[in-house]
């Protein structure tokens, strides 16, 4: 089932949680709402579920207006950040709850409930925990039970609020791959909220980057990573270096360095901010006659697959971060205090609006 969100606005007192948000989620897609805390992503998710109502705007499920539809009739599955399992019920009863509360007419028989709950528990690979109580489970197990419970009512849309936020790093990694596989199996339209860019980039079909109640960019993971639409998206998705530069007729000037751009051809001599990813910086130990940035190595983090360098430019205060491979690091034979010459390989500029 597709979801269309049209011009949703929501305020809490004077705080604007969502200011005119519109978004389409095509049927069967796994979409991530990504943004820092307080950006309105959870509010948007809760409005889709019907747990909050928007001040204005509308929600459509499969083309049908559903803004005022009762939560119970929306056929959504919701997985809460802290699982919200019913602590006094066994795992089995938790998953069965959505079936048991149905009216007599639509309630499946006891045997059918049994069959479906066990089917779901095997789907999340936790059938052996059916008689346990939620407090006796680990965080990852609780999260999977919460998912099974949400799926028990056969929702048309699955909504997940920071599904892996409360788990430790290792479990988190396993679970998000598992969620991706599960989605590929079930093809249920899913929206999940996260503040972890790595998680969004790895799991989602599409990423919706949000900031201060507005959508900054919508696109595939590669799209938003490679072509960020705004300085905010650039900074939020991974590390980035910011330079003051001037743009003139499709060329950016950072210090003495000139880089050609794909756009901004009509711009005449304007101030701009240039963004360069740490892995897009070439490092040389000699100047070779080309214009470069002269800097001193101030710190070396050699642990990990890449070597991270902190570089202090000779005539600028802001530290530049660069990442190079271990082989390149050995080739250059850098030490703390070495003089290096930098050249950005690719750059994206945003004109400064005055």
């Amino acid at each position: 089932m597709s979801i269309e969100i049209r011009n949703i606005k929501k305020e809490f007192g004077r705080f604007t949680a969502l200011g005119d948000v519109s978004l389409d989620v095509p049927s069967g897609e796994l979409v991530a709402l990504l943004g820092p805390s307080g950006c309105g992503k959870t509010t948007l998710l809760r409005i889709i579920a019907g747990l909050e109502s928007p001040d204005s705007g509308s929600i459509h499920f499969h083309g049908e207006e559903a803004t005022d539809r009762d939560v119970r009739e929306r056929q959504v599955g919701f997985v809460f950040q802290h699982y919200a399992l019913f602590r006094h019920m066994t795992v089995f009863e938790n998953v069965a709850f959505g079936l048991r509360v149905r009216s007599k007419k639509t309630r499946p028989s006891e045997a059918e409930i049994h069959r479906r709950v066990h089917q779901l528990l095997s789907l999340v690979q936790l059938d052996w925990l059916a008689d346990r109580y939620p407090p006796q489970l680990s965080g990852g197990q609780r999260q999977r039970i919460a998912l099974a419970r949400a799926l028990a009512v056969e929702p048309k849309v699955l909504l997940l609020d920071e599904p892996f936020g409360a788990l430790d790093a290792k479990v988190r990694k396993d679970l998000r791959r598992w969620l991706r596989r599960l989605h590929d199996e079930l093809h249920i339209t899913s929206v999940f909220v996260t503040h972890d860019q790595e998680e969004a980039l790895e799991v989602a079909d599409r990423i919706v980057v949000m900031n201060q109640g507005k959508i900054e960019q919508i696109g595939s993971p590669q799209d938003v990573y490679d072509n960020p639409a705004s300085p905010f998206v650039y900074k939020f998705l991974g590390n980035v270096n910011q330079f003051h530069s001037r743009v003139n007729q499709g060329q950016a000037h950072i210090g003495d360095i000139t880089l050609s751009l794909n756009d901004h051809h009509g711009v005449q001599d304007s101030d701009a901010l240039a963004y360069v990813r740490p892995h897009d910086i070439d490092i040389f130990t000699e100047q070779n006659g080309h214009p470069t940035l002269h800097a001193v190595v101030s710190y070396i983090h050699a642990a990990g697959p890449l070597v991270r360098l902190e570089l202090q430019p000779v005539n600028d205060a802001d530290i530049i971060e660069a990442e190079i491979t271990r082989e390149r690091f050995r080739e250059l034979a850098l030490n703390q205090g070495s003089h290096v010459y930098l050249k950005p390989r690719s750059v994206q500029v945003f004109l400064e609006t005055k």
Partner: protein
């Protein structure tokens, strides 16, 4: 071997830490003994006195004082007042706690303050307010006489006064508990399609049952033991509007000590049962909580 050594080191560290953070022995014992002395002076000795005085003239006199018609009627009235005010405050307490803990609305802090009012006001004044409203010279006095309905100096007045003085207990017990539990579980139930009643029965009530039971026991104890407010509205009509505490007072004023202490011993017994139940509930809910914690640590 190394495991044993590290265990020993751990043990030693524990002992050292406890020594580092606790007071010298003499301070601890002084504190414990003074607390015990205080308790025996103000609690144990009076309690023992009640029972010895009650049984001073023999077991038969004791029983006779309890089965005497006026005493039986006082016991009955006390039970009736408690039986009516308890369910009323149960419903009110849950409703108020639910509203305060799960919703945001204007005037919430005023509601919380109002719930505390019976704690702040002297019970005697509470009784007087009811006399002022429903009494002969009161606001509704004439209308009540015309309709031949007695509130003051009758059972309805006693029930009203009892409800008034006991209504904070359950709400006060539940509000912090429900606030701490949040509303995620209720929302989960809602998304799964449960109706309001189903959510209350299957999710909310099981989660608050120990707190609720605790509140009920406190309410019951207070309802049966209330003196001031009930004394003002009751009129002390023997065999008709006397509750147990009022009956004790009357007997005592008549120098009928044995009977007075006999009835008082019933109330004291009730207090002991209440304390017993209270600590059982605390133990039970503490056990569930610590079991949960242990399990989640794994």
């Amino acid at each position: 071997m190394s495991a044993i050594v590290s265990q020993l080191a751990h043990y030693n560290a524990k002992v050292a830490r406890s020594r580092a953070t606790s007071e010298p022995t003499w301070v601890r014992w002084t504190l414990i003994i003074s607390a015990l002395l205080f308790l025996s002076l103000f609690l144990f000795i009076p309690l023992a006195a009640v029972f010895t005085e009650a049984l001073r003239k023999g077991f038969e006199t004791y029983i006779a004082a309890l089965v005497e018609p006026d005493a039986v009627s006082a016991i009955q009235l006390t039970l009736i007042a408690a039986a009516i005010s308890l369910p009323l405050n149960l419903v009110f307490g849950i409703a108020a706690a639910w509203a305060i803990a799960k919703f945001e609305f204007k005037g919430k802090s005023i509601l919380i303050t109002l719930i505390d009012l019976p704690f702040a006001v002297s019970p005697v004044i509470a009784g007087l307010i009811f006399v002022l409203i429903f009494g002969l010279q009161g606001w509704f006095g004439e209308w009540l006489i015309d309709n031949d309905f007695k509130v003051i100096f009758a059972i309805p007045g006693i029930v009203l006064a009892t409800v008034f003085v006991t209504f904070p207990f359950i709400a006060r017990e539940l509000i912090p508990l429900m606030q701490a539990q949040g509303k995620e579980e209720e929302e989960a139930g809602l998304v799964l399609g449960a109706s309001g009643w189903q959510i209350l029965w299957h999710i909310t009530l099981p989660n608050i049952k120990w707190g609720l039971l605790y509140g009920v026991i406190l309410t019951n104890a207070r309802a049966m033991g209330e003196f001031g407010a009930v004394s003002v509205v009751s009129g002390h009509i023997r065999g008709l509007t006397n509750t147990m505490p009022l009956h004790v007072e009357i007997l005592y004023n008549e120098y009928n000590y044995a009977a007075a202490f006999a009835v008082a011993s019933l109330l004291a017994f009730l207090a002991l049962v209440t304390l017993g139940l209270k600590s059982y509930i605390e133990w039970q809910s503490g056990r569930t909580a610590s079991a949960n914690e242990k399990a989640s640590d794994q």
